[in-house]
């Protein structure tokens, strides 16, 4: 929009200045002058528009300065030459001489060939000014937009990080645990103190874990045990736990919070929604140079798989893919009614 306004204003002014100048200083008729300069200006709009298309289509604004300068000079010379040839031809047609009367009047002391040369120089200058103005405007806009995009990007990134942190802290669990603790303090102070320690250890572990961190299964199981101890306070006899950890598996290193995510999912979507609760089974063994982790839990019959479950597992799958490529796998088996089995295979 701004482009067309400026384009029409600029060429309109140029047309009026040239045509009226020719009438006043070279005693040409308005009809002749407007025919010549009107055509020159329409052609000028076309030529510059073509140049603009090149600039946009070939992304000149993203080029390094020297490359841009070369292209700008070449472009200017080409369209200036085209306009020059057209002006001479039209002038010949309208006035019977290749030099337009206004140019002749302006440079009346110069020879004919010098007048022609100056006409060419004027054309080059005219288009150089055009392209300089255009590029200045486009670059300002380009910079403004990329700054805006940068700011939006930064904000989106922050939001994503915050959301991730929130999900890791599991606020629903945290506030319920604190509520349970409040009750425990009065009734069973010894267990309450123990629970505070477990919660503190869990939080520290969660906050310390990064995406690329590998920890031993032993260490991850400590976190899972703290978590399960706190959930047992809430779920009481509804949560039963079975562990089967092969000694050889304990030292294997795995991404931190990986097993924890599976266990949280098993409780949140499997056992907690069941009135009678159920048994959570965690198994770890080493099979054919792979660590095989299994989390098995009962689940409600009409499995309405909530989007958050998908998200947690998707994040874990993505982490495994980034760390181990195709050598690791995570799959959730829901083929058996009323049971969910999550299995992770990791290379040793």
């Amino acid at each position: 929009m701004a482009y067309w306004v400026l384009q029409l204003l600029g060429w309109g002014f140029y047309f009026y200045a040239q045509a009226s100048g020719e009438v006043i200083f070279a005693s040409a008729s308005w009809e002749q002058a407007s025919t010549l300069w009107g055509s020159v200006c329409v052609a000028g709009i076309g030529l510059t528009h073509l140049l603009r298309w090149f600039v946009k289509h070939h992304r000149w604004l993203s080029l390094p300065p020297t490359a841009l300068l070369g292209r700008v000079i070449a472009g200017t010379l080409i369209i200036a030459t085209a306009s020059y040839v057209l002006t001479i031809a039209l002038s010949q047609e309208v006035y019977g001489t290749p030099v337009p009367p206004i140019t002749a009047a302006f440079y009346q002391r110069l020879s004919f060939s010098e007048q022609l040369r100056n006409l060419y120089i004027i054309k080059v200058l005219l288009y150089a000014v055009w392209i300089a103005g255009y590029l200045a405007f486009a670059m300002l806009r380009h910079r403004y937009q990329s700054e805006l995009r940068q700011a939006q990007l930064g904000k989106a990134l922050q939001t994503a990080e915050l959301r991730l942190l929130k999900a890791q802290l599991n606020p629903h669990f945290l506030f319920n645990a604190l509520n349970g603790l409040r009750s425990l303090i009065a009734d069973e102070p010894v267990r309450a103190r123990e629970a505070v320690t477990q919660l503190a250890r869990m939080l520290r572990y969660t906050l310390a874990s990064g995406d690329e961190d590998l920890v031993s299964l032993e260490r991850e199981l400590e976190m899972v045990d703290d978590y399960l101890a706190l959930e047992s306070l809430r779920l009481a006899e509804r949560l039963r736990i079975e562990r089967e950890i092969a000694p050889a598996a304990r030292t294997v290193r795995l991404p931190s919070m990986l097993l924890q995510t599976l266990v949280e999912n098993a409780l949140k979507h499997g056992i907690a929604p069941l009135k009678e609760g159920g048994t959570l089974r965690i198994a770890a063994q080493v099979v054919e140079k792979h660590l095989v982790l299994q989390v098995v839990n009962p689940r409600p019959p009409e499995d309405t798989k909530s989007p958050s479950e998908g998200l947690g597992l998707r994040n874990s799958t993505e982490r495994l893919r980034l760390l181990f490529g195709t050598r690791a796998s995570l799959r959730l088996d829901l083929s058996q009614a009323g049971q969910a089995t999550a299995e992770i295979r990791l290379p040793l």
Binding site: P171, H172, L174, F175, N176, L178, N179, G180, R182, S183, L184, A186, D187, L233, R234, L235, A236, R238, A272, P273, L274, K275, G277
Partner: protein
């Protein structure tokens, strides 16, 4: 004030009990650990107030409300689901965040006890005053005196309530039994109208009547019902 505590976590129930013990006016009549127990408890004990957890095994607190005929005064207790409470159009509802602050609990109880507070479930034979309705993702407490027409749609009932048209998951016949007969009138096989909303009545052919409702449609009163209608409204 008779109170029922509904939470799936024994520790949370114990904590709430302890907090409520500080208020002499509160009498805890029972506890429930899931929504089936809660429904049975509400029907048996008809408490004035229910402290209701949202996430529970076997169904959420919202599920419970849709199953109830008479909804007592509800105070949601939630660890982190208050966004869910706010997101729903559950008007006139309180929620407390766990761990519950004693001062907040006191404020809530004061609000419930104030005479301006909305009526709670009265005697079981009194007509229904309000309904809890969930239609898709939205929930409402609908004050029945604001509903102009109940229209039967198969086994469901569509309410005309202001701009909303929520669908209730029960039949018109079973609902009609519980409505206030002073206010609601069966106009034809599939519609019950609120007499307060009638603006104009026109005589039709064969003894039928046409009733124009405020900001609403024209309802046809069948011949059989028209006689009753005349007797009721003395036209």
């Amino acid at each position: 004030m008779r109170v029922l505590v509904v939470d799936d976590e024994p520790l949370a129930r114990r904590e709430l009990r302890r907090l409520l013990d500080a208020f002499p006016s509160v009498q805890i009549v029972g506890e429930a650990g899931n929504i089936d127990e809660a429904r049975a408890g509400i029907e048996r004990l008809s408490p004035d107030v229910v402290f209701l957890d949202i996430q529970m095994p076997g169904g959420t607190g919202f599920d419970l409300l849709t199953q109830l005929d008479r909804v007592p005064r509800i105070v949601f207790t939630t660890a982190y689901d208050h966004y869910a409470v706010k997101a729903f159009d559950v008007n006139a509802l309180d929620y407390l965040l766990k761990p519950i602050e004693p001062e907040r609990l006191a404020t809530t109880l004061r609000k419930i006890q104030s005479p301006a507070s909305s009526p709670t479930a009265a005697a079981t034979d009194a007509p229904l005053e309000q309904l809890f309705i969930r239609d898709g993702p939205r929930c409402w407490f609908v004050p029945l005196r604001e509903v102009s027409v109940f229209s039967s749609e198969g086994n469901y009932v569509r309410l005309s309530w202001g701009k909303e048209r929520p669908l209730l998951g029960r039949s018109l016949v079973s609902l009609e039994e519980k409505l206030d007969p002073q206010r609601f009138f069966r106009a034809n096989r599939s519609q019950v109208v609120n007499l307060d909303f009638i603006q104009q009545v026109e005589l039709g052919e064969g003894g039928r009547l046409y009733v124009q409702l405020r900001d609403g449609p024209e309802i046809e009163v069948s011949r059989r019902q028209a006689r009753l209608f005349r007797a009721r409204t003395a036209i």
